[in-house]
Amino acid sequence: MLVDLAQNTLDGLGTGAAYALLALGFTLVFGVLRRANLSYGPAIMLGAYAATWTSLHYPAGLLALAAITVGGSVLAGVYVERLCFAPHRDAPGPGRERRSSAIAAMVASFAVWMQFEEAATLALPRHLYAFPPLTARPPLALGPLALRLEALITLAIAVAVCALLWWMLYRARFGIAVRAVIERPAAAVLAGIDVSRVSARVFMLASAVGGVAGFLVAATHGQVTPHLGMWTTLKGLLAMMIGGLGSLPGAVAGGMLLGVLEAHSQWYLGPQFRDLSVYLLLFALLALRPRGLLPARRAA
């Protein structure tokens, strides 16, 4: 009984670590642009497809595939930023009208999502392709618990990525600019910070973080499908909403919580109820705490 609980939590933390990375990427973009990027997951999917294509045609090691996934996600991310978000920034100054441009950006990112899915299925038309697994070794035995190595690797990489992000955002000059743009874009402009340049860089950074998550997910599942795009957008968005819109610690917490919740509901309710119960919980959470668990402070 207790063993089940512990085992599910352990499994959930592994998945949750990948969700946390996805949510971090989502949150970074949302933080600087105040826009939901629906193409976030599809760009990651395209990166994973580039790696899959490579592994089908050339003998490539896991590290090379990871680099291709991340590189492909960043390239696709730049394409999304240039096409969907750079032309639809908020006009600065008082009394600005932001609604129309927010909707234009979101619809544009939806169109690019479809574009990416089509591109992926044109390059690799079968529904499912094998992705080289992260590890072939059996799980470690921790007393009565089994610790999957994939989960351990995912967790370790997620911790490393979080540490790197923390350093970039809280210890480097770049981080001052990013946080200034997140907190008060109008004041950041006045401080001489080039908001569109910072936003574009954050977009690349977010795509890279998402790419790392995409690689870990594809290699853990040992397969890719075109649905990976929607799946990553959904998980990232969900974890971000649970944690609190625009909050980086919230993204990590939301991702971990989502992973653990999924593991438990899958075990106790069965896989067919896993997503249903998670969405019900999200609904309840948003009804009670509309800004999520650890909402970001943001000034007007």
């Binding site: 600065p92 004041a187 401080a191 910070i193 000034a299």
Partner: protein, 240 residues
């Protein structure tokens, strides 16, 4: 004293609505120049236009004779104009020190930046005490000091201040105006937008009245009776 900033026939519009309808004015080097006017007269629009946040439709803005009209805000900060915005707009989740770093974002001289931060702490002792504290926890007056210090971190030749006394207690307002006078003595030229005409006229060398997007008066304090200035600054000439 030469002309530091010259604004000529400036028109800035939001869509079809012209907020500035051909504003011309000048700020002399080493002076405190003040802009008074009622709400909605275009004061903030003018400040944002000079800072490059809004792009004027017509007219020109020159700094030391160089045309800076329509330049990016980051370029204008680098050229030597910094704006202390209305309502201060400090970065609340960042520490006081980080706010100052943000103000120096255009600069690359690390040692100079650290030295300037120490100078700011010397000038504004409350900021030194709260260096590691989130700026959102500061009082209104302290936030105003931080906003001024942040702007000064770019080493501006011209400091634009938009309603620095807004929402502050009278004693704090006195303190802010004392700082304005001090900065001026140190050689910073100041262009000040104020609702508090009484305080503004005490420090200003020259002032302009702006009403409905047009400059309607220009002169030295004393060239127009103060109650007349105050009446027009609050109500606008249209109601006479």
């Amino acid at each position: 004293m030469g002309v530091l900033l010259e604004v000529r026939e400036l028109v800035t519009a939001y869509g079809a609505i012209e907020a500035l309808k051909g504003v011309s004015l000048a700020v002399a080097e080493g002076s405190i120049t003040c802009l008074l006017g009622p709400n909605g007269a275009g004061k903030t629009t003018l400040m944002f236009s000079i800072a490059g946040v809004l792009t004027p439709r017509r007219g020109s803005i020159r700094l030391f004779g160089e045309d800076i009209t329509g330049r990016a805000p980051s370029t204008i900060v680098a050229r030597g104009i910094a704006l202390v915005p209305e309502n201060r707009l400090v970065f609340p989740g960042m520490t006081v020190r980080e706010n100052l770093y943000a103000g120096a974002y255009q600069r690359a001289d690390r040692a100079g930046i650290e030295g300037d931060i120490e100078r700011m702490f010397g000038r504004f002792p409350p900021l030194k005490e709260r260096a590691g504290q989130g700026a959102g926890t500061l009082s209104g007056g302290e936030q105003q000091m931080l906003a001024v210090a942040r702007a000064l971190m770019s080493r501006p030749k011209l400091l634009l201040m938009d309603e620095p006394s807004l929402g502050l207690a009278p004693l704090v307002v006195e303190e802010i105006f004392r700082i304005v006078g001090e900065l001026h003595r140190e050689g910073v030229s100041i262009f000040l937008v104020e609702q508090n005409a009484h305080m503004a006229l005490k420090v200003a060398h020259h002032f302009y009245l702006i009403e409905q997007g047009r400059v309607t008066f220009s002169g030295d304090p004393g060239s127009l009776a103060e109650d007349e200035v105050i009446r027009r600054a609050y109500l606008g000439a249209a109601l006479r």
